[in-house]
């Protein structure tokens, strides 16, 4: 077989294994992305350990694997990141977000700042350069909303005050996590970067926001097959190109286009098609490719494990303390009297624990930081290993922690259900008595 045939076979194997492993991991009520990462790790290490020649399995890239096929695989993975962010933004309800309360807003700001600053400081203390340490901090900022939603749903507390605030805060966490990576990978001085950011938001945000209606109407008038989808994706790529050119972060453009489109019913209608392209091909390939970037040889020295341990601790403690304290100081809008109450403490702790899991956006930030040069090639394997470890730790630790934090609510709900059952039995007994009496 020729090179292209091996690449096609690799994509095929990656997709099939990604979907199977996603399904297996979801059965354990864990994010399917973990399965995709593990499959990628297995495939990648078949190459790293010499069991399969790199030409026959071009799933890895960088780190000495620079053939055209490897570069194509890397490009496909980059497209996966772009589609993931585009889809994430398209699925956002901006109107709902505007209604976000003070508690969610303050806890988001602290929930992002504390792990960011702690991570930045800790990595600097470990001897990493400031830019790289900042990128490490950024990896810790975003929350994976999916797992929290799922666990809270299972516990029956998703629509509670804490549940609603957690949801809003997690969406805003993602926004900030995606935006902050610009400062890690952006080139030039702070002033130049700031000007570029303002210009980018004016061009894409303001103009896009006001002209998107006309653009979609124009696309409608073309009367061609999937014309609106094609025109929307085309504009998304232009935004991504601008962001890549200015900040080495194409995701910012994709995310911005998704947000702009999300305000239109017509924009929401293309979501199914974007989902099909994204989750049918590019996004699972991105996760498998990311997993494949983890060379297990990195664990031959203790650096990666130390980094993983530091990032894991900060990822958990930083979020619980940051977001939890942010919720606590607002006293949930109930005034000073509520501040030092037991309820305020527990609600804030629940809010903090709900923000612990990380998955997609941390991986996206990691890849952007590596490709953008904020994390140099020499340190990339360590950061990949550390990120995959802290992601795994965070998703494994969250469900039991949330169950513990919500134990009172769960027991109360159980007691209510039991009381209802007793009531129903009593009612039935009385009815039987009545019937017997009437006979």
């Amino acid at each position: 077989m020729e090179g292209v045939a091996w690449l096609l076979a690799t994509i095929g194997i990656a997709l099939i294994l990604a979907k199977i492993s996603d399904s297996i991991i979801e059965r354990f009520e864990l994010p399917g992305v973990l399965g995709e990462l593990i499959m990628g790790m297995i495939l990648g290490n078949l190459v790293y350990f010499g069991y399969v020649a790199p030409d026959y399995l071009p799933i890895v890239s960088g780190m000495g694997y620079e053939s055209v096929l490897n570069q194509i695989a890397e490009f496909l993975a980059k497209l996966g990141i772009i589609f993931l962010l585009f889809l994430g933004a398209l699925d956002t309800d901006i109107e709902q977000l505007k209604k976000t309360g003070v508690t969610a807003t303050v806890s988001t700001i602290l929930g992002v700042s504390v792990p960011l600053l702690l991570g930045w400081w800790a990595l600097m203390a470990m001897g990493y350069p400031s830019r790289e340490a900042f990128a490490g901090g950024v990896l810790l900022t975003a929350t994976s909303i999916g797992l929290t939603v799922r666990v809270m749903m299972d516990l029956g507390v998703l629509r509670s005050e804490v549940g609603a605030a957690s949801l809003s805060a997690s969406v805003m966490d993602d926004f900030l996590g995606i935006a902050l990576v610009i400062f890690a990978v952006g080139t030039g001085g702070l002033f130049e970067l700031s000007i570029k950011i303002v210009a980018f938001f004016i061009i894409t945000g303001v103009l896009g926001w006001y002209f998107i209606d006309h653009y979609i109407r124009f696309a409608e008038r073309l009367h061609v097959e999937k014309g609106i989808l094609g025109m929307a994706i085309g504009m998304m790529f232009l935004f991504a190109a601008l962001a890549e050119g200015w900040f080495v972060a194409a995701i910012e453009g994709a995310f911005m286009m998704g947000l702009i489109l999300s305000k239109l019913p017509e924009g929401k209608r293309i979501m199914e098609d974007v989902r099909a392209i994204g989750y049918g091909l590019l996004i699972p390939f991105f996760f498998v490719h990311t997993g494949a970037m983890l060379n297990l040889k990195v664990f031959e020295n203790a650096d990666a494990i130390t980094l993983a341990a530091v990032l894991s601790v900060i990822a958990i403690v930083g979020k619980i303390v940051g977001r939890g304290f942010g919720a606590w100081i607002t006293a949930w809008g109930r005034g000073r009297d509520f501040l030092f109450t037991r309820k305020n403490f527990w609600m804030s702790l629940q809010m903090g624990i709900g923000s612990v899991p990380r998955t997609e956006v941390a991986l996206v930030d990691l890849m952007v930081a590596i490709h953008g040069g904020a994390i140099p090639p020499g340190d990339a394997p360590k950061f990949i290993a550390a990120t995959l470890i802290f992601i795994t730790v965070s998703v494994l630790i969250t469900p039991p922690l949330l169950k513990w934090a919500f134990k009172e609510e769960i027991e109360k709900a159980k007691a209510e259900k039991a009381a209802q059952k007793v009531g129903r039995i009593q009612e039935t007994k009385e009815k039987i008595k009545e019937l017997k009496g009437s006979e």
């Binding site: 699925d91 999916g146 939603v149 799922r150 749903m153 507390v157 997609e360």
Partner: protein
């Protein structure tokens, strides 16, 4: 009237000429109980959700197919980036009111648009129903059922040899 003439007339009709009045449409307010919405959906293909009956400000729409997301257990939902809005509709996620499950971006059309405009929009976005709005106010609806009824009425009024 032959089919061609009927179609021509049909296409040029204004939406406002054939849309039903809001009081005959399936409409609930945002705070309506989700179970009442489900009761309505036993016989209707969609339910409009408005802020209140006074303002009739359109909040969203709940379509027949949305019931699948509402009734599915948590393990059937996928909690991934770009997919959370669907799973939030589940009854098991605690969704209890109409606004919890409504699609907040329903496709709309203006009163003075023609039937041809409506058909084009329906084809383009694979939609079976459009909200007719005046600003943010819901004033009517156009569904495939209404369009079929109107087309058949035109043929019959014209005395064509329509074969059902």
């Amino acid at each position: 009237m032959d089919v061609e003439a009927a179609l021509e007339k049909f296409h040029s009709l204004k939406v406002s000429q054939i849309m039903p009045k809001p009081d005959t449409m399936p409409i609930v307010t945002a705070d309506s109980d989700l179970l009442n919405v489900l009761k309505l959906l036993r016989t209707r293909h969609h339910v409009w959700v408005v802020k209140d009956r006074g303002s009739m400000e359109l909040v969203g729409v709940i379509r027949y197919m949305d019931v699948i997301d509402i009734l599915l257990p948590p393990e059937s939902h996928r909690f991934k980036l770009g997919m959370t809005s669907r799973s939030m509709r589940s009854l098991l996620s605690g969704a209890a009111r109409a606004e919890d499950v409504a699609d907040r971006h329903p496709l709309t059309i203006e009163e003075d648009a023609t039937v041809l405009d409506a058909l084009n929009k329906m084809r383009r976005y694979k939609a079976q129903v459009l909200a007719v709005v005046e600003g943010e106010r819901l004033v009517g609806e156009i569904s495939l059922r209404i369009l079929i009824d109107e087309f058949l009425r035109l043929l019959r009024v014209g005395g064509a040899q329509w074969k059902g």
